[in-house]
């Protein structure tokens, strides 16, 4: 039995206003698995994956990511160790606007992994051509389209050879005609065996790529199913209601 990459046990997180973001969440993410997290806005899906790399804390429960256990009051050292091995792609890309595309990607390898510049740049160029945007290496983020920026963000998260990639609604801020170029890049990653947790509303992507779909509502996991079951014959009434709203 291989250890899971993420294992969460009874995670609870309450915001100060009494809003429950995570309500007793227990789940695992296995190696080479693509897990899609769906749910209405405010259901806690973003909060959940942001606890996986320590961007959000939690009030009680246990969490183990890439073999490192973090508690409710995590040490900086442990959280940083996790972040070195887990990549994250944000809805708003969050590229560093004052750095060129190449510098965006080589920053972590050079600063964190202490690679030399030439080696880091070679690897970055390789990742950029994998994303189909090697010609943009010398440009600045502002000069790129949203879809290109998001592919740079994916390349940036890949630059440290992560064991797990987290995607927080990666296509929600894109123009509709730019969505597919990003999803295609993610499909390729999945085929190459990358472990991914993807928060998204893209049904076709989930159907095609996901190994399992987790459906959340009001901070709870309502259902975990294979995409086949989830989209055709969801077990829970709440899931079917949600699907009716997003698929017309």
């Amino acid at each position: 039995m291989i250890n899971p990459i993420v294992s969460a046990n009874e995670l609870v997180k309450t915001y100060s206003k009494g809003l429950i973001a995570l309500n007793n969440i227990s789940m695992v993410v296995n190696k080479k698995e693509v897990l899609v997290v769906m749910g209405p806005s405010g259901s806690g899906k973003s909060t959940l994956i942001r606890t996986f790399n320590g961007l959000e804390s939690f009030d009680s429960g246990e969490l183990e990511v890439v073999g490192i256990t973090i508690g409710t009051d995590p040490e900086d050292r442990k959280v940083r160790e996790i972040r070195k091995r887990v990549g994250m792609v944000f809805q708003q890309f969050n590229l560093f606007p004052h750095l060129s595309i190449l510098e965006n990607i080589t920053l972590a390898p050079i600063q964190v992994q202490r690679k030399n510049r030439i080696e880091a740049e070679d690897h970055a160029m390789e990742l950029l051509s994998q994303m189909g945007i090697e010609k943009q290496a010398k440009k600045y983020p502002i000069q790129l389209s949203g879809g290109e920026q998001q592919r740079v963000a994916i390349a940036r998260s890949l630059a440290v050879n992560p064991e797990l990639l987290l995607f927080d609604e990666p296509t929600s801020a894109l123009d509709p005609e730019r969505v597919n170029e990003v999803l295609d890049a993610m499909r390729k990653l999945a085929q190459d065996g990358m472990t991914m947790v993807v928060v998204t509303h893209e049904v076709s992507f989930a159907k095609e790529v996901a190994d399992r779909v987790v459906f959340m509502d009001s901070g709870k996991i309502i259902e975990t199913s294979s995409p086949n079951v989830f989209f055709n014959n969801a077990k829970e009434e709440r899931s079917r209601k949600f699907l009716n709203q997003i698929i017309k």
Binding site: R83, K84, F90, Q92, F96, P97, H98, V112, I142
Partner: protein, 299 residues
């Protein structure tokens, strides 16, 4: 119709300004005639015949007023330049500490800023001079005589750099004061950087210090710079409070010269021009710096 109206308004404003200046100049010439002084700068070449405690270039009382003024200008520059650098350092460190995660540093930074901003600069300068330096009995040595010695004569660094008590208290007072204001400017700049940038540098594994230095500060600079420029200009102007601690800056020397010669108008024109010149240089340098750091926004 609208164009005509705005033309009338502009002509009106022009006329009012013209009349105002005409009245001022008329007033000035009447006063000059009455006091029997011609508007002239010839007196600048007469010997100053007063001594200066501090002069970065050779000076004796037989030198001209012009030379004395120039020495004063250099003395001012000496204060402004050093204070500018140190207050920037203090300001950035305090501003970053104020926005950081360490609660103790946060409280220290906040108290420092509050204390300094709620008390007058003149009082602070007096404090550093009379309480800070003149009240020292004997010498205070940190950690031995070769590094740093404090006495009521001033500061002695590395055994051979002597700073007078007047100069030291002025520089300390100005830097501590301006540093607090710069800290607030820096804090505002840091807060203007989107939260996503913090999450992005954290998520790639950068630690807080290098993230702030490499990611946050460069993006905060465009927001920091205009405020920083006005703090620098304030610092230059505040340096004229040197007269309170008896430091011979350009204002103190001009004051003496005006008392001796009665040339108040010429003296103040020179004084104003020298500050205008200095502050224009500071502004131009900051504009140039601004161009460099905002390059990435204009590609």
């Amino acid at each position: 119709m609208k164009g005509l109206r705005s033309l009338y308004i502009q002509v009106g404003i022009g006329l009012v300004l013209f009349i105002l200046f005409a009245v001022l100049i008329n007033n000035l010439s009447i006063n000059l005639i009455r006091t029997n002084l011609n508007f002239s700068f010839k007196w600048l070449y007469r010997p100053a015949s007063f001594a200066l405690a501090e002069h970065p270039l050779p000076y004796s009382p037989s030198d001209s007023y012009a030379w004395a003024l120039f020495i004063g200008w250099l003395n001012s520059l000496k204060v402004i330049f050093i204070s500018l650098i140190i207050s920037t350092l203090i300001g950035f460190i305090t501003g970053i500490a104020r926005t950081g995660r360490n609660p103790l540093l946060k409280i220290i930074a906040a108290s420092y800023i509050t204390l300094i901003r709620q008390t007058p600069l003149l009082l602070q300068l007096m404090f550093w001079y009379f309480v800070g330096f003149l009240s020292i009995k004997g010498t205070l040595i940190f950690p031995n005589e070769r590094i740093l010695v404090l006495s009521n004569q001033g500061i002695k660094i590395f055994g051979d750099i002597n700073l007078t008590a007047e100069y030291s208290s002025l520089v300390i007072g100005l830097t501590v004061f301006t540093g607090a204001y710069i800290a607030e400017v820096v804090r505002g700049g840091i807060n203007s950087v989107p939260r996503g940038q913090w999450e992005a540098f954290r998520s790639v594994g950068l630690n807080e210090n290098s993230g702030v230095l490499k990611i946050i500060i460069p993006q905060a600079l465009p927001a920091i710079l205009p405020g920083l420029t006005s703090q620098y200009l304030n610092l230059a102007k505040n340096s004229t409070l040197a007269i309170a601690v008896g430091y011979a800056d350009i204002y103190a020397i001009s004051d003496t010269i005006i008392n001796q010669t009665g040339r108040a108008i010429e003296g103040f024109i020179l004084l104003l021009l020298s500050f205008l010149f200095l502050n224009l240089i500071i502004s131009l340098m900051m504009d140039f710096f601004n161009e460099i750091i905002t390059k990435y926004q204009k590609v």
